[in-house]
Protein backbone atom coordinates (compact mmCIF):
# COMPACT_ATOMS: atom_id res chain seq x y z
CA UNK A 1 0.00 0.00 0.00
CA UNK A 2 2.83 2.35 0.86
CA UNK A 3 4.34 1.69 -2.53
CA UNK A 4 1.11 2.86 -4.19
CA UNK A 5 1.29 6.12 -2.28
CA UNK A 6 4.90 6.56 -3.30
CA UNK A 7 3.94 5.96 -6.93
CA UNK A 8 1.13 8.48 -6.58
CA UNK A 9 3.49 11.00 -4.99
CA UNK A 10 5.89 10.63 -7.90
CA UNK A 11 2.94 11.04 -10.27
CA UNK A 12 2.03 14.27 -8.47
CA UNK A 13 5.57 15.55 -8.87
CA UNK A 14 5.43 14.59 -12.53
CA UNK A 15 2.17 16.54 -12.98
CA UNK A 16 3.63 19.65 -11.35
CA UNK A 17 6.77 19.35 -13.44
CA UNK A 18 4.83 18.93 -16.68
CA UNK A 19 2.43 21.78 -15.94
CA UNK A 20 5.21 24.24 -15.02
CA UNK A 21 7.21 23.22 -18.11
CA UNK A 22 9.39 26.37 -18.21
CA UNK A 23 11.91 26.33 -16.62
CA UNK A 24 12.01 22.55 -16.81
CA UNK A 25 12.49 21.38 -13.25
CA UNK A 26 13.07 17.64 -12.88
CA UNK A 27 11.00 17.21 -9.76
CA UNK A 28 10.42 13.57 -10.58
CA UNK A 29 14.17 12.85 -10.61
CA UNK A 30 14.51 14.68 -7.32
CA UNK A 31 11.67 12.68 -5.76
CA UNK A 32 13.09 9.46 -7.16
CA UNK A 33 16.54 10.10 -5.70
CA UNK A 34 15.06 10.85 -2.28
CA UNK A 35 12.92 7.70 -2.31
CA UNK A 36 15.85 5.62 -3.53
CA UNK A 37 18.09 6.88 -0.75
CA UNK A 38 15.69 5.78 1.96
CA UNK A 39 14.03 2.72 0.50
CA UNK A 40 14.84 -0.84 -0.46
CA UNK A 41 16.52 -1.63 -3.80
CA UNK A 42 13.37 -3.28 -5.18
CA UNK A 43 11.19 -0.27 -4.37
CA UNK A 44 13.83 2.03 -5.83
CA UNK A 45 13.83 0.07 -9.10
CA UNK A 46 10.01 -0.02 -9.27
CA UNK A 47 9.86 3.72 -8.69
CA UNK A 48 12.57 4.24 -11.31
CA UNK A 49 10.57 2.28 -13.87
CA UNK A 50 7.42 4.22 -12.99
CA UNK A 51 9.21 7.59 -13.25
CA UNK A 52 10.76 6.60 -16.59
CA UNK A 53 7.39 5.41 -17.84
CA UNK A 54 5.77 8.75 -16.93
CA UNK A 55 8.50 10.77 -18.62
CA UNK A 56 8.21 8.52 -21.68
CA UNK A 57 4.55 9.47 -22.01
CA UNK A 58 5.48 13.09 -22.62
CA UNK A 59 8.09 12.16 -25.19
CA UNK A 60 6.61 9.12 -26.88
CA UNK A 61 9.20 8.90 -29.64
CA UNK A 62 11.84 8.05 -27.03
CA UNK A 63 9.62 5.87 -24.88
CA UNK A 64 11.88 3.38 -23.06
CA UNK A 65 15.03 5.49 -22.81
CA UNK A 66 13.80 7.28 -19.74
CA UNK A 67 13.04 3.97 -18.04
CA UNK A 68 16.66 2.90 -18.53
CA UNK A 69 18.06 6.21 -17.30
CA UNK A 70 15.83 6.58 -14.27
CA UNK A 71 16.07 2.95 -13.22
CA UNK A 72 19.84 3.29 -13.26
CA UNK A 73 19.61 6.55 -11.30
CA UNK A 74 17.37 4.89 -8.69
CA UNK A 75 19.59 1.84 -8.40
CA UNK A 76 22.79 3.86 -8.19
CA UNK A 77 21.33 6.25 -5.58
CA UNK A 78 20.19 3.30 -3.51
CA UNK A 79 23.66 1.73 -3.64
CA UNK A 80 25.61 4.90 -3.07
CA UNK A 81 23.52 5.57 0.00
CA UNK A 82 25.12 2.72 1.90
CA UNK A 83 28.60 4.14 1.48
CA UNK A 84 28.16 7.87 1.33
CA UNK A 85 24.88 9.13 2.62
CA UNK A 86 25.51 10.62 6.03
CA UNK A 87 25.18 14.35 5.66
CA UNK A 88 22.89 16.68 3.72
CA UNK A 89 25.82 17.71 1.58
CA UNK A 90 26.08 14.19 0.17
CA UNK A 91 22.39 14.22 -0.61
CA UNK A 92 22.78 17.39 -2.67
CA UNK A 93 25.84 15.90 -4.37
CA UNK A 94 23.87 12.76 -5.28
CA UNK A 95 21.01 14.88 -6.66
CA UNK A 96 23.49 16.88 -8.70
CA UNK A 97 25.14 13.71 -10.03
CA UNK A 98 21.77 12.19 -10.92
CA UNK A 99 20.74 15.33 -12.81
CA UNK A 100 24.07 15.51 -14.60
CA UNK A 101 23.82 11.84 -15.54
CA UNK A 102 20.32 12.35 -16.93
CA UNK A 103 21.40 15.46 -18.81
CA UNK A 104 24.45 13.80 -20.35
CA UNK A 105 22.70 10.58 -21.32
CA UNK A 106 19.83 12.54 -22.84
CA UNK A 107 22.34 14.68 -24.69
CA UNK A 108 24.28 11.68 -26.02
CA UNK A 109 21.38 9.37 -26.83
CA UNK A 110 18.51 11.69 -27.71
CA UNK A 111 20.41 14.85 -28.70
CA UNK A 112 17.35 16.76 -27.59
CA UNK A 113 18.07 18.73 -24.43
CA UNK A 114 17.62 22.26 -23.16
CA UNK A 115 20.65 24.59 -23.39
CA UNK A 116 23.25 24.08 -20.67
CA UNK A 117 22.65 27.55 -19.16
CA UNK A 118 18.96 26.88 -18.66
CA UNK A 119 19.75 23.42 -17.32
CA UNK A 120 22.14 25.00 -14.83
CA UNK A 121 19.47 27.45 -13.70
CA UNK A 122 16.85 24.74 -13.26
CA UNK A 123 19.43 22.61 -11.41
CA UNK A 124 20.09 25.46 -9.00
CA UNK A 125 16.36 25.82 -8.39
CA UNK A 126 16.14 22.09 -7.78
CA UNK A 127 19.02 22.13 -5.31
CA UNK A 128 17.21 24.87 -3.46
CA UNK A 129 14.01 22.86 -3.16
CA UNK A 130 15.79 19.53 -2.62
CA UNK A 131 16.13 19.78 1.16
CA UNK A 132 12.54 20.92 1.86
CA UNK A 133 11.24 18.17 -0.42
CA UNK A 134 13.41 15.61 1.33
CA UNK A 135 12.02 16.70 4.70
CA UNK A 136 8.49 16.47 3.36
CA UNK A 137 9.00 12.97 1.96
CA UNK A 138 10.65 11.76 5.19
CA UNK A 139 7.76 13.11 7.24
CA UNK A 140 5.21 11.54 4.91
CA UNK A 141 6.75 8.13 4.27
CA UNK A 142 9.66 7.44 6.62
CA UNK A 143 8.54 8.54 10.07
CA UNK A 144 9.90 5.35 11.63
CA UNK A 145 13.26 5.99 10.09
CA UNK A 146 13.25 9.44 11.61
CA UNK A 147 12.65 7.97 15.07
CA UNK A 148 15.51 5.55 14.60
CA UNK A 149 17.90 8.45 13.97
Amino acid sequence: MKLVFKLLFLYLLFLIQTIINRPQIDLIVLGLVIFSLYDTPITAIVLGIWAGFLLGLVNQAYFGFHIIILTLVAYASNNVHRYLYKYKLYFLAIVLLALLFKYLTTLIILRNVQPFGIWLLSTLIMLLIALPLENLIIKMFYKNLLRRF
Binding site: I19, I49, F53, F63, G64, I67, T71, L72
Partner: protein
Protein backbone atom coordinates in the same frame (compact mmCIF):
# COMPACT_ATOMS: atom_id res chain seq x y z
CA UNK B 1 18.93 -7.94 -7.60
CA UNK B 2 21.49 -7.27 -10.30
CA UNK B 3 19.84 -9.88 -12.50
CA UNK B 4 16.44 -8.19 -12.12
CA UNK B 5 17.98 -4.86 -12.95
CA UNK B 6 19.72 -6.33 -15.98
CA UNK B 7 16.46 -7.87 -17.25
CA UNK B 8 14.62 -4.59 -16.77
CA UNK B 9 17.32 -2.67 -18.60
CA UNK B 10 17.33 -5.12 -21.50
CA UNK B 11 13.53 -4.97 -21.75
CA UNK B 12 13.62 -1.18 -21.66
CA UNK B 13 16.29 -1.12 -24.34
CA UNK B 14 14.17 -3.36 -26.55
CA UNK B 15 11.19 -1.11 -25.87
CA UNK B 16 13.13 1.97 -26.81
CA UNK B 17 14.33 0.41 -30.06
CA UNK B 18 10.81 -0.52 -31.21
CA UNK B 19 9.35 1.39 -34.17
CA UNK B 20 7.77 4.75 -33.36
CA UNK B 21 4.31 3.72 -34.59
CA UNK B 22 4.32 0.84 -32.12
CA UNK B 23 5.42 3.15 -29.30
CA UNK B 24 2.66 5.61 -30.12
CA UNK B 25 0.06 2.84 -30.13
CA UNK B 26 1.43 1.46 -26.85
CA UNK B 27 1.36 4.78 -25.01
CA UNK B 28 -1.84 6.17 -26.49
CA UNK B 29 -4.26 5.17 -23.71
CA UNK B 30 -1.90 5.59 -20.72
CA UNK B 31 -1.11 9.02 -22.07
CA UNK B 32 -4.79 9.96 -22.34
CA UNK B 33 -5.39 8.80 -18.80
CA UNK B 34 -2.28 10.03 -17.01
CA UNK B 35 -1.84 13.33 -18.81
CA UNK B 36 -5.51 14.28 -18.51
CA UNK B 37 -4.92 16.63 -15.52
CA UNK B 38 -2.01 18.29 -17.33
CA UNK B 39 -4.10 18.90 -20.42
CA UNK B 40 -7.02 20.31 -18.44
CA UNK B 41 -4.77 22.59 -16.39
CA UNK B 42 -3.04 23.89 -19.49
CA UNK B 43 -6.42 24.55 -21.11
CA UNK B 44 -7.50 26.47 -18.03
CA UNK B 45 -4.31 28.55 -17.95
CA UNK B 46 -4.65 29.30 -21.65
CA UNK B 47 -8.31 30.25 -21.15
CA UNK B 48 -7.44 32.60 -18.27
CA UNK B 49 -4.66 34.15 -20.32
CA UNK B 50 -7.04 34.87 -23.19
CA UNK B 51 -9.68 36.19 -20.80
CA UNK B 52 -7.19 38.59 -19.23
CA UNK B 53 -6.15 39.86 -22.64
CA UNK B 54 -9.78 40.40 -23.64
CA UNK B 55 -10.46 42.09 -20.30
CA UNK B 56 -7.60 44.54 -20.85
CA UNK B 57 -8.81 45.28 -24.37
CA UNK B 58 -12.34 45.87 -23.12
CA UNK B 59 -11.07 48.19 -20.40
CA UNK B 60 -9.18 50.20 -22.98
CA UNK B 61 -12.26 50.29 -25.18
CA UNK B 62 -14.36 51.42 -22.20
CA UNK B 63 -11.92 54.28 -21.63
CA UNK B 64 -12.17 55.35 -25.25
CA UNK B 65 -15.93 55.06 -25.24
CA UNK B 66 -16.16 57.12 -22.06
CA UNK B 67 -14.28 59.92 -23.76
CA UNK B 68 -16.33 59.58 -26.90
CA UNK B 69 -19.49 59.55 -24.84
CA UNK B 70 -18.49 62.76 -23.03
CA UNK B 71 -17.84 64.40 -26.35
CA UNK B 72 -21.10 63.24 -27.92
CA UNK B 73 -23.14 64.25 -24.90
CA UNK B 74 -21.70 67.69 -25.08
CA UNK B 75 -22.42 67.90 -28.77
CA UNK B 76 -26.00 66.84 -28.15
CA UNK B 77 -26.37 69.48 -25.47
CA UNK B 78 -25.20 72.14 -27.84
CA UNK B 79 -27.42 70.91 -30.64
CA UNK B 80 -30.46 70.89 -28.39
CA UNK B 81 -29.79 74.41 -27.23
CA UNK B 82 -29.37 75.52 -30.83
CA UNK B 83 -26.16 77.16 -29.77
CA UNK B 84 -24.94 77.58 -33.26
CA UNK B 85 -22.23 79.96 -32.23
CA UNK B 86 -20.69 77.23 -30.08
CA UNK B 87 -20.79 74.51 -32.65
CA UNK B 88 -17.72 75.85 -34.30
CA UNK B 89 -15.74 75.07 -31.21
CA UNK B 90 -16.24 71.38 -31.65
CA UNK B 91 -14.10 69.82 -34.25
CA UNK B 92 -14.38 66.08 -34.55
CA UNK B 93 -10.94 65.65 -35.99
CA UNK B 94 -9.37 67.44 -33.07
CA UNK B 95 -11.57 65.77 -30.49
CA UNK B 96 -10.52 63.15 -28.01
CA UNK B 97 -11.87 60.41 -30.22
CA UNK B 98 -8.86 60.71 -32.44
CA UNK B 99 -6.40 60.43 -29.55
CA UNK B 100 -4.63 57.26 -28.56
CA UNK B 101 -4.70 55.69 -25.13
CA UNK B 102 -1.91 53.83 -23.38
CA UNK B 103 -2.75 51.48 -20.56
CA UNK B 104 -0.51 51.68 -17.49
CA UNK B 105 -0.53 49.90 -14.15
CA UNK B 106 -0.17 51.73 -10.87
CA UNK B 107 2.85 50.18 -9.18
CA UNK B 108 3.21 52.50 -6.20
CA UNK B 109 1.38 55.21 -4.29
CA UNK B 110 2.68 58.00 -2.09
CA UNK B 111 3.25 56.71 1.41
CA UNK B 112 1.51 59.47 3.37
CA UNK B 113 -1.91 59.56 1.75
CA UNK B 114 -1.91 56.91 -0.97
CA UNK B 115 -4.11 59.06 -3.22
CA UNK B 116 -2.09 62.13 -4.17
CA UNK B 117 0.70 60.63 -6.28
CA UNK B 118 0.80 57.38 -8.23
CA UNK B 119 3.80 55.76 -9.87
CA UNK B 120 2.94 53.96 -13.10
CA UNK B 121 4.91 51.45 -15.14
CA UNK B 122 5.10 53.51 -18.32
CA UNK B 123 7.66 56.18 -19.07
CA UNK B 124 9.39 58.07 -21.82
CA UNK B 125 10.18 54.75 -23.54
CA UNK B 126 6.42 54.43 -24.19
CA UNK B 127 6.17 58.09 -25.30
CA UNK B 128 4.75 59.26 -21.99
CA UNK B 129 5.53 62.93 -21.44
CA UNK B 130 5.10 65.44 -18.68
CA UNK B 131 1.60 66.97 -18.49
CA UNK B 132 -0.05 64.12 -20.31
CA UNK B 133 -3.42 63.22 -18.86
CA UNK B 134 -4.32 60.01 -17.06
CA UNK B 135 -7.90 58.82 -17.07
CA UNK B 136 -10.08 55.82 -16.32
CA UNK B 137 -13.44 54.96 -17.85
CA UNK B 138 -15.07 56.95 -15.02
CA UNK B 139 -13.11 60.16 -15.43
CA UNK B 140 -9.94 62.04 -14.81
CA UNK B 141 -7.15 60.58 -12.65
CA UNK B 142 -4.50 63.26 -12.97
CA UNK B 143 -1.56 64.37 -15.01
CA UNK B 144 2.01 63.23 -15.44
CA UNK B 145 4.42 65.39 -13.48
CA UNK B 146 7.64 63.39 -13.80
CA UNK B 147 8.92 60.65 -16.08
CA UNK B 148 11.89 58.35 -16.34
CA UNK B 149 12.58 55.81 -19.04
CA UNK B 150 10.10 53.21 -17.82
CA UNK B 151 8.16 54.93 -15.05
CA UNK B 152 6.14 58.07 -14.48
CA UNK B 153 4.44 59.85 -11.61
CA UNK B 154 0.85 61.02 -11.76
CA UNK B 155 -0.40 63.85 -9.59
CA UNK B 156 -4.08 63.46 -8.78
CA UNK B 157 -6.64 66.21 -8.10
CA UNK B 158 -6.39 65.30 -4.40
CA UNK B 159 -2.94 66.91 -4.33
CA UNK B 160 -3.00 70.47 -2.86
CA UNK B 161 -1.05 71.87 -5.83
CA UNK B 162 -3.38 70.48 -8.44
CA UNK B 163 -5.80 72.76 -10.26
CA UNK B 164 -8.07 72.06 -13.21
CA UNK B 165 -10.29 74.37 -15.14
CA UNK B 166 -13.74 72.82 -14.85
CA UNK B 167 -17.28 73.55 -15.85
CA UNK B 168 -20.72 72.39 -14.92
CA UNK B 169 -21.90 69.92 -17.52
CA UNK B 170 -25.52 71.10 -17.23
CA UNK B 171 -25.30 74.87 -16.90
CA UNK B 172 -21.78 75.32 -18.36
CA UNK B 173 -20.70 77.52 -15.47
CA UNK B 174 -16.91 77.73 -15.36
CA UNK B 175 -14.63 77.60 -12.36
CA UNK B 176 -11.49 76.00 -11.01
CA UNK B 177 -11.31 72.63 -9.32
CA UNK B 178 -8.90 72.51 -6.39
CA UNK B 179 -7.94 70.28 -3.50
CA UNK B 180 -10.20 70.46 -0.47
CA UNK B 181 -9.39 67.39 1.56
CA UNK B 182 -8.36 63.81 0.86
CA UNK B 183 -11.84 62.77 -0.18
CA UNK B 184 -13.29 65.85 -1.85
CA UNK B 185 -12.49 68.84 -4.06
CA UNK B 186 -13.56 72.48 -4.18
CA UNK B 187 -15.13 74.10 -7.25
CA UNK B 188 -13.92 77.65 -6.78
CA UNK B 189 -14.51 81.06 -8.29
CA UNK B 190 -18.15 80.42 -9.12
CA UNK B 191 -20.32 83.49 -8.58
CA UNK B 192 -23.02 83.35 -5.95
CA UNK B 193 -25.80 83.74 -8.51
CA UNK B 194 -24.48 81.01 -10.85
CA UNK B 195 -26.63 77.96 -11.51
CA UNK B 196 -25.08 75.04 -9.58
CA UNK B 197 -27.11 72.27 -7.97
CA UNK B 198 -26.21 69.29 -5.84
CA UNK B 199 -25.76 66.27 -8.14
CA UNK B 200 -24.43 68.27 -11.10
CA UNK B 201 -21.46 66.78 -12.91
CA UNK B 202 -18.30 68.84 -13.18
CA UNK B 203 -16.23 68.22 -16.30
CA UNK B 204 -12.97 69.59 -17.64
CA UNK B 205 -13.54 72.79 -19.58
CA UNK B 206 -10.47 72.47 -21.77
CA UNK B 207 -9.18 75.89 -20.68
CA UNK B 208 -5.49 75.89 -19.95
CA UNK B 209 -4.67 73.43 -22.69
CA UNK B 210 -3.47 70.51 -20.59
CA UNK B 211 -6.73 68.72 -19.93
CA UNK B 212 -8.95 68.06 -22.91
CA UNK B 213 -12.54 69.15 -22.82
CA UNK B 214 -15.32 66.92 -21.47
CA UNK B 215 -13.64 64.56 -18.99
CA UNK B 216 -15.61 63.84 -15.83
CA UNK B 217 -14.08 65.25 -12.65
CA UNK B 218 -16.70 64.88 -9.97
CA UNK B 219 -20.23 65.35 -8.70
CA UNK B 220 -21.38 68.37 -6.74
CA UNK B 221 -21.88 67.22 -3.15
CA UNK B 222 -22.66 70.41 -1.32
CA UNK B 223 -23.23 74.06 -2.17
CA UNK B 224 -23.55 77.07 0.12
CA UNK B 225 -22.81 80.77 -0.13
CA UNK B 226 -19.24 81.69 0.56
CA UNK B 227 -18.64 83.84 3.67
CA UNK B 228 -17.39 86.55 1.35
CA UNK B 229 -20.86 86.56 -0.26
CA UNK B 230 -19.30 86.88 -3.62
CA UNK B 231 -18.54 83.32 -4.59
CA UNK B 232 -20.28 80.06 -3.79
CA UNK B 233 -18.75 77.35 -1.64
CA UNK B 234 -19.05 74.18 -3.75
CA UNK B 235 -17.79 70.83 -2.63
CA UNK B 236 -17.23 68.18 -5.28
CA UNK B 237 -16.84 64.46 -4.79
CA UNK B 238 -14.37 62.97 -7.31
CA UNK B 239 -15.96 60.49 -9.69
CA UNK B 240 -12.89 58.27 -9.64
CA UNK B 241 -12.30 56.32 -6.43
CA UNK B 242 -8.57 56.95 -6.06
CA UNK B 243 -8.21 54.28 -3.42
CA UNK B 244 -9.60 51.58 -5.67
CA UNK B 245 -7.87 52.01 -9.02
CA UNK B 246 -5.09 49.75 -10.20
CA UNK B 247 -4.58 50.92 -13.75
CA UNK B 248 -5.07 54.07 -15.78
CA UNK B 249 -5.02 55.13 -19.41
CA UNK B 250 -2.68 57.85 -20.57
CA UNK B 251 -3.93 60.05 -23.38
CA UNK B 252 -1.05 60.17 -25.82
CA UNK B 253 -1.25 63.55 -27.47
CA UNK B 254 1.01 65.38 -29.80
CA UNK B 255 4.23 66.38 -28.02
CA UNK B 256 4.00 69.93 -29.34
CA UNK B 257 0.94 70.52 -27.19
CA UNK B 258 2.90 69.84 -24.03
CA UNK B 259 6.32 71.17 -24.75
CA UNK B 260 5.28 74.69 -23.86
CA UNK B 261 4.10 73.67 -20.40
CA UNK B 262 6.44 73.06 -17.52
CA UNK B 263 5.48 71.02 -14.47
CA UNK B 264 4.47 73.12 -11.50
CA UNK B 265 7.34 73.78 -9.15
CA UNK B 266 5.05 73.10 -6.22
CA UNK B 267 4.46 69.56 -7.40
CA UNK B 268 8.19 68.98 -7.38
CA UNK B 269 8.41 70.30 -3.85
CA UNK B 270 5.56 68.03 -2.82
CA UNK B 271 7.36 65.06 -4.31
CA UNK B 272 10.56 65.97 -2.50
CA UNK B 273 8.78 66.42 0.80
CA UNK B 274 7.04 63.07 0.35
CA UNK B 275 10.35 61.54 -0.71
CA UNK B 276 8.85 60.29 -3.95
CA UNK B 277 11.11 59.86 -6.93
CA UNK B 278 10.63 58.30 -10.32
CA UNK B 279 12.24 54.85 -10.42
CA UNK B 280 15.10 54.85 -12.88
CA UNK B 281 15.97 51.16 -12.76
CA UNK B 282 15.52 49.50 -16.13
CA UNK B 283 12.46 47.37 -16.44
CA UNK B 284 12.97 43.64 -16.94
CA UNK B 285 11.12 42.63 -20.05
Amino acid sequence: MKKILLIILILSLILSLLPRSFKFALTKYPQLLLLFPVEKTRQLISYLHIQKKEFDELKQLAGLLAIENAFLQEKLLLTNANAKQDEGQINLEQSLISKKLLKANIIARDEETGVQFFTINKGSYDNVKINMVAITAQGIVGRIIATSQFYSIIETPLSPRFKIAGCNKRSRVNGVIEYHNLSSLRFKYVFAESDIKVGDTIITSGLGGVFPYGLNIGIVKNTQPDPTQYFQYIEVKPIVDFNAIFDVHIILSEPSVFEQFKPAAGSRRDLNSLKISVPIAPRIR
